[in-house]
Structure formats: structure tokens, C-alpha cells
Symmetry: C2
Subunit: 147 residues, 2 copies
């Protein structure tokens, strides 16, 4: 029967589908040299650049892993490292124009998913879903206030 499945499993299933869809959209757009792990880091880069340590923390990996992922993104031309004017030790990881041009592709797929979900749930449930998840973020997302 499984009348009351664990909510954690349910959000996991939904999240997996979203990630799969966005990656597939990128592939269709001709992007085949970014991996999922790299995309997860790239997605956290702010408009004015973000420090590697911050990226590592937000993506929940170590600095070493973030270094390796950014290395590959840099080689592929999607990000660049520039000195941080406020701290001689630090460098800011910034998206290049090449990466910025892909943002609309991701945004469009996200919008498509939202439309499909709303069509399936109806506007009332969709609103409630968004409201609940947003509230939940207060206790599940330590980085909720960035960008």
C-alpha cells in the first residue's frame, strides 16, 4: 500500500528528476563537456564571482575537490579565476561569457518543468508546494540568503 511514504524520499525523487531534466536540456543545446559535479559548482557562482572556499562550502565538498572541479571548468572555458581585490590570498571564480550564454537554456528548462508540475497539480497545490518548501528552507538551507 505505501500510503504514507517518507517525505524525504519524495523530495529526493522530485529533485533527481529536475536535475536529470536540466542536464538533458544542456545536452540538447550541444553542451557535452560539463559534468554534473562541475555544473553543481558552476551554479553557485554569483554574478560578481565567488571565492573557491565559498563554492566548496555551498556545494558541500572540500576545497581540494572544488579546486579540481574549477580547474576543469576553467580548461573548458566556462569560468576564469581573477584576483580578489580585497584579499591578496584569494581569487574570485567568475563565469565567462561562454557560460553566461547557457543560463537561458537552463532557465527555460526550469520554467518548462514548473509549467508541467503546475498542470499536473493545479494552481492551488502548486502554490502550497512552493510555500511549504520555501518555509522548509529556513531549517534546511544555511545558504538561503545568497543571490
Amino acid at each position: 500500500m505505501a500510503s504514507e511514504p517518507f517525505v524525504g524520499l519524495l523530495v529526493f525523487v522530485a529533485a533527481r528528476e529536475v536535475e536529470r531534466r536540466v542536464v538533458a536540456a544542456m545536452r540538447r543545446a550541444g553542451v557535452d563537456d560539463i559534468t554534473l559535479a562541475q555544473a553543481r559548482v558552476a551554479a553557485r557562482i554569483g554574478p560578481h564571482g565567488t571565492r573557491l572556499t565559498d563554492l566548496a562550502e555551498q556545494a558541500q565538498v572540500t576545497k581540494q575537490t572544488a579546486t579540481a572541479l574549477v580547474d576543469r571548468l576553467e580548461i573548458a572555458g566556462y569560468v576564469e579565476r581573477v584576483p580578489d581585490p580585497t584579499d591578496g590570498r584569494a581569487r574570485l571564480v567568475r563565469l565567462t561569457d561562454k557560460a553566461a550564454s547557457l543560463l537561458p537554456v537552463a532557465r527555460a528548462e526550469e520554467a518548462r518543468i514548473e509549467r508541467e508540475w503546475e498542470a499536473h497539480l493545479g494552481p492551488r497545490r502548486m502554490r502550497a508546494l512552493r510555500e511549504s518548501l520555501t518555509l522548509l528552507r529556513e531549517i534546511t538551507d544555511p545558504y538561503r540568503d545568497d543571490a
Copy 2:
């Protein structure tokens, strides 16, 4: 302002937190020889054993990857491979007693998370959340009817 964050991001944040919490609970229970990738596969094993191909499909990895993950779980003593009586080519991957003894730990943490979420959202929103996500599963989870 970010008044209307993408719902896909919201479910992702929630899912990440759930995964993190369950893994942390396992660690506290003394389990330090299972990785996240291995746990994701193990979590899909049914009560009577599951074929490797099915595990691979459900965990969204290739058969080769699933083989490697099951290899490590087997070495660590959490699963065993037994012949599938209905198909001479196939083998069923089954949880051992050692793994089964950990299920209550995971279940307890899941229940704790649910209680916390319900306390934060209130019973009405929690019910709506579960309802919406369950409905969503119809269009996001091709494996929804297993176990």
C-alpha cells in the same frame, strides 16, 4: 528579493538536507565503511533481493557502476549475491543481517526529520506537502510502484 524561487531548487535543497541527515545518523551509529553512492544503491534493494540491472536502472547508473558499488558493499559484508532461481543468468543482490540491523537507524532519523518538518510547517501544510509530492511522483518517478 527572490520572491519566486524555482521549485526545482527548493526540492533539491530539501533532498540534500535529508540525505545529509541520514548519512550523519549512520555515522553516529558507527557505520563508517559505506559511501553515499553505495548507500543509494543499497537503499533500493527489495526485501527478497533485487537484480543488479534493476538496481542500476533505479539508481540511474550503468550496470558496470552498479557492479562496482555492489562489489564494495559485498566486501564490507552488507550485501550478498545469490542465484536467481528464475533466471540462470541473473543473480539477486540481497541485504545481509548486518545491513538489515541498520535499517532502524535510518528509519528513526527519517521519522525525526518528519517530526521537525511538521513542527515547522504545521500539520496542514505538512499534509499538503506530502499530497503534492506524492502526486508529482506520477510524472517524475518511473519506479514509483516498487515496494
